[in-house]
């Protein structure tokens, strides 16, 4: 199918896998191997990008069989954007992890050397699974990939080894497993109805009870995995109690896998009706409001950030629902933009929150201040990420929200505009809680310590958060990439 041998699609999946294997075999060299594997994967994705720009959608029939007997990989603009995003975040978080797991001291949990040794195999397995999901064109393969992601993500969530992290990790594991099993049963129903497993098989299928059951199961399962309100119960604790690089990966990437599959299902199949889409928007609204209120009430910085993930995921569902079933062929762009914006900003924000916690020794919001040891660059990164998540121009978040509201207005759905506005106000309110803390002098209780200067560890959050703001200026090219290979059919 492609001139390059072996094809870059397979390499984007297998290179991180080889990296994970090598990092597991050589624990001491894990950071170097890990970063090398991420860079190699990014190179494969760059080659793939070149091919997609030239040829549009690329299919690779693995084993030469082709669908429906074999499994096909598929790459188009949407997949390419997600792949690039994931590589970018893995690189940023990986560099952040170098600093976060440096040193030998142990703070009540796992020894640092062990955390360092195990972070990389799990991170690379996660990358394998994520890239596998983006490139998959087969329902059962998506289920297996989701399980790869689940196990790696749970391993990352409990890396710190504290009781709180383990408890949250187990709850996460159960939610994730149940979601995957619902997806599996849904795949069974698809097979009953169509006799095939590839996504293309959904397209021609007649609307039937079995197919509705399949969609119902898969949507509920994926909603559980993406923590759509009210199935979000597992997310805040799991994301807040993980170590910072793990939180960044979980919040920025893992929840997006379910969303991406939802997009692909909506693209492929006869989506089960206007009402379901509206329901997704309504639940998204619930997430925006409930997540916002809980973020306002959170006492710890990382918990606030985690609740904001619940709210932001809700917003993405609102984006999907903004113009109804007919508007879906355009609404996916708004959703994709918000996915990209949230991923970059949230990765930067969690790394920044982790730095702040490392430097000042706690992350209680009521005691944040402008003390002399203040991690100024991390606070800057937090603020930049907040700008994008709130949606101030020219950030990528602004472009996403603008695109959401524009489509909603054109369809005359003012209620979705109101929801977006309400969510924006709430996000201003809860991020301000943290930001004002960064500016206060009157909370200093301990004697002023010497400013510790800037560390290399400040670079990844600043760069990621800066990108979250700056990429808004590149919205045109990003949209052009998303439209490569025309996902969701022709551009209206």
């Amino acid at each position: 199918m492609t001139d390059v041998m072996p094809d870059p699609l397979t390499l984007a999946i297998l290179l991180p896998l080889f990296g994970a294997i090598a990092a597991f075999l050589l624990p001491r060299a894990a950071p170097a191997i890990g970063l090398g594997a991420v860079v190699a994967t990014a190179a494969a994705i760059a080659v793939l990008g070149h091919l997609v720009v030239q040829a549009g959608t690329i299919f690779v029939p693995l084993g030469g069989w082709g669908a429906p007997l074999g499994i096909e990989l598929r790459a188009d603009g949407l997949a390419l954007a997600m792949l690039g995003l994931t590589a970018l975040i893995a690189l940023g978080v990986g560099l952040g992890a170098l600093a976060a797991f440096a040193g030998e001291t142990e703070v009540g949990g796992q020894p640092m050397a062990r955390q360092r040794a195990f972070f990389w195999p799990l991170c690379l397995l996660l990358l394998t699974g994520m890239n596998g999901v983006y490139l998959s064109n087969d329902l059962f393969n998506l289920y297996v990939m989701l399980e790869v992601i689940s196990l790696a993500a749970v391993g990352l969530a409990v890396l710190g080894g504290t009781v709180a992290a383990l408890r949250a990790g187990l709850a996460y594991m159960y939610a994730s497993l149940l979601g995957a099993l619902m997806m599996l049963l849904g795949v069974g129903f698809v097979y009953l109805q169509t006799g095939r497993l590839d996504l293309a098989g959904l397209a021609g299928a007649p609307d039937s009870a079995a197919l509705s059951a399949a969609f119902g199961l898969m949507l509920v399962g994926l909603a559980l995995k993406t923590a759509l309100f009210p199935l979000h119960f597992w997310l805040p604790e799991a994301h807040a109690n993980a170590t910072a690089p793990a939180s960044a990966l979980l919040s920025a990437l893992v929840v997006k896998a379910g969303l991406y599959i939802l997009l692909r299902l909506a693209e492929a199949g006869p989506f089960p009706g206007e009402a379901i889409l509206t329901l997704m928007g309504v639940l998204g609204t619930g997430a925006v409001l409930w997540g916002g209120v809980q973020a306002l009430r959170a006492e710890r910085l990382k918990l606030l950030v985690a609740w904001s993930t619940v709210a932001q995921m809700g917003l993405i569902f609102v984006a999907l629902a903004r113009a109804g079933l007919e508007g879906l062929s355009d609404s996916w762009r708004a959703a994709a933009l918000l996915i990209l914006a949230h991923a970059v900003a949230k990765a930067g924000m969690f790394l920044a929150a982790g730095r702040i916690k490392d430097v000042i020794g706690h992350d209680r919001i009521s005691e944040l201040d402008r003390s002399a040891v203040r991690p100024a660059l991390a606070q800057l990164a937090f603020a930049l990420a907040a700008i994008s998540l709130i949606g101030l121009p020219p950030s990528l978040g602004f472009i996403g929200k603008w695109s959401l509201m524009e489509g909603a207005m054109m369809a005359g759905n003012w209620h979705w505009v109101a929801v977006t506005m309400a969510g924006t106000l709430l996000s201003v309110a809860y991020f301000t809680r943290a930001l004002t803390g960064f500016l206060r002098f009157d909370r200093v209780r301990a004697p002023l310590d010497e400013h510790r200067g800037w560390a290399l560890a400040d670079a990844p959050p600043v760069v990621l958060a800066g990108l979250a703001v700056g990429l808004g200026l590149a919205a045109g090219p990003i949209l052009a990439v998303l439209d490569l290979g025309t996902p969701f059919g022709a551009i209206p």
Binding site: F140, V144, E147, S150, L151, V154, G155, V158, V163, L166, R167, G169, L170, M173, Y174, L177, L178, L181, L184, L185, V187, G188, F189, Y191, L192, G195, L197
Partner: protein, 99 residues
């Protein structure tokens, strides 16, 4: 009128097992019981898939669902092992702090 074929019997039984597992996951209080309930869900989904191998009346069953279910079984034992490791570790830490 629906013909009560062999596959239909096991398919419906599979759905019932999945439903029971679902109830267990939602209702069980203990960690082990929830995990077993999840395993029941997996078994139920597997039964539906294996029954799906017999829909059209061929002489031999469709091997693809068989392969899928074997994959599912291996995936499930992996997940079970991870969950059990978490349970054991949590138990150790909790009994340490409680005493």
């Amino acid at each position: 009128m629906i013909a009560l074929s062999q596959a239909t019997i096991y398919g419906l039984a599979g759905l019932a097992v999945f439903g029971l597992g679902l109830m267990g996951v939602l209702g069980a209080a203990e960690r082990l019981r929830r995990l077993i309930a999840l395993n029941l869900c997996a078994a139920g989904a597997g039964m539906v898939l294996i029954a799906a191998a017999w829909r059209s009346p061929p002489a031999v069953p469709d091997p693809v669902p068989h392969a899928l279910v074997i994959t599912g079984i291996v995936v499930m034992v992996s997940a079970t092992a991870v969950a059990l490791a978490l349970i054991r570790r949590l138990h150790s830490l909790e009994t340490d702090t409680d005493d």
